[in-house]
Symmetry: C2
Subunit: 239 residues, 2 copies
DNA sequence: CACTTGATGGTATGTTTGTACCATAAAAAC
DNA sequence: GTTTTTATGGTACAAACATACCATCAAGTG
């Protein structure tokens, strides 16, 4: 076994172990030992590939930032077939709403890092600010185009609206993470809001259930989670 | 000095020390010693009033939840003089946007707790879910009233809109905490959004600067952070 | 005045953590 | 074929931590 080895591969393997460990015990509970166990290697090896714990945490953060970029780009590419700005926007914003276990894990650890970066001077969250800022500019472009195409109220302010969209999607994603809302409800709310931003348009589905995404609700009734009735909230769906 | 002592007062004092300690070193870095030092007492005393660290953390969380309720109620009461639903809603939502150091500290620790509660089984965040849920119901009531009074689009879905508002305010607050946006920008965005929700109405100021809260922007221009231009972002204003 | 009880300080203890050190087997280089 | 890297394991160690234990001093209580 002791042959020549691809360092990047090993590092990626260990970082993934850290991410998994952080996902179910919390980033604060991550230790050299827990990472080593999760990766199936000795502590010494973790030390070998990342000299210190701080550098390991830093590397994992960098990897998270990269992966976030990839995820967004994937969404854009996948939804890119539909030229409708609304669908691209929806796809991008829905990235923040964790659906399966994989995305839940990802966004949980990402959020833990973001919060940690506020107090930990070693994590000078550059990476965390650049991604959202790019997203914001991207959305501004789409919204401006949509407005000029007449798909939206001409008085809409693209930048402010982009910030609202981003904030709402982050907030909804967080509420799903905290177990306050289901991913389906969050998605429905997002679709509702987009329906108000793009009047007259209709979400080109997406194989997503939740019929509440019909532009405006066909006057009055507003299908799905229904009018003023209690919405179905959830109290920690954690297994 | 060793007289009979008000336990609740002592406990409150120690909890405040914990909150302060958590605010500038991070909740993960809080230790019995750091709390004791911050409170100006011996470690033994912290142990005396809260048997274990877990109970101390739990008590601090409970206190945070109570304080959050008080904060919201204060906002409602203060803005209550204005009967306009829009102003009440604005006041309540702006609570999530930290302006001074005090509110920044509060919301930072609150957020740290919320995130921690996802992975730590001891913190079964009941308290975190009840407050937002009450807020949601409260907003639904206000929005429904506003819609019936004709202040809003009759096709607006009060519940979905309430969720959007709450999510956006949480997201904006978080972005301020992370140093991505200034509190003033976040407030302006919130006012902009309310301006779209309540067409024709005008925010009854609030001694708050940021002239960008003028209903709709007087056609086209939208004062303050200006049209499609780059908004002024900030990169960690931490001292 | 005896004495019990509440409030506090100091210190010891066992565990966990990050990291440094020592060892070694396999490959690569010469 | 010797020697030097490269990759790995094991273990040792100092620091920090939560907590348990021991001691004490001042009030109340009888």
């Amino acid at each position: 076994m002791p042959k020549l080895v691809d360092h990047e591969e090993r590092r990626a393997h260990i970082i993934d172990a850290l991410l998994r460990s952080a996902a179910d015990s919390g980033l604060h509970a991550v230790t050299m030992r827990s990472v080593a166990v999760e990766a199936g290697v000795s502590v010494r090896l973790v030390q070998y590939y990342f000299d210190t714990k701080e550098q390991l945490l830093l590397a994992a953060m960098a990897r998270l930032a990269v992966r976030m970029g990839e995820r967004i780009r994937d969404r854009v590419r996948t939804a890119g077939s539909s030229t409708a700005p609304r669908d691209i926007i929806a796809a991008v914003l829905l990235e923040a709403v964790p659906t399966d276990e994989e995305s839940r894990t990802f966004h949980l650890v990402y959020t833990e890092y973001a919060v940690l970066s506020v107090t930990d001077p070693a994590l000078a969250g550059q990476s965390f600010l650049s991604a959202p800022n790019e997203m914001e500019d991207f959305l501004v472009g789409l919204l401006t185009a949509a407005r000029q195409a007449g798909d939206t109220d001409p008085r809409m302010d693209a930048r402010q609206e982009a910030v609202v969209l981003l904030a709402a999607s982050a907030g909804l994603g967080l509420s799903v993470l905290l177990g306050q809302r289901t991913a389906q409800d969050a998605a429905a709310v997002l679709h509702y809001h987009l329906g108000r931003l793009f009047p007259g348009s209709r979400a080109s589905d997406g194989s997503d259930s939740s019929g509440a995404s019909d532009g405006f609700g066909g006057s009055g009734g507003s299908g799905g989670s229904g009018g003023d009735g209690k919405s179905s909230r959830v109290h920690r769906p954690r297994p």
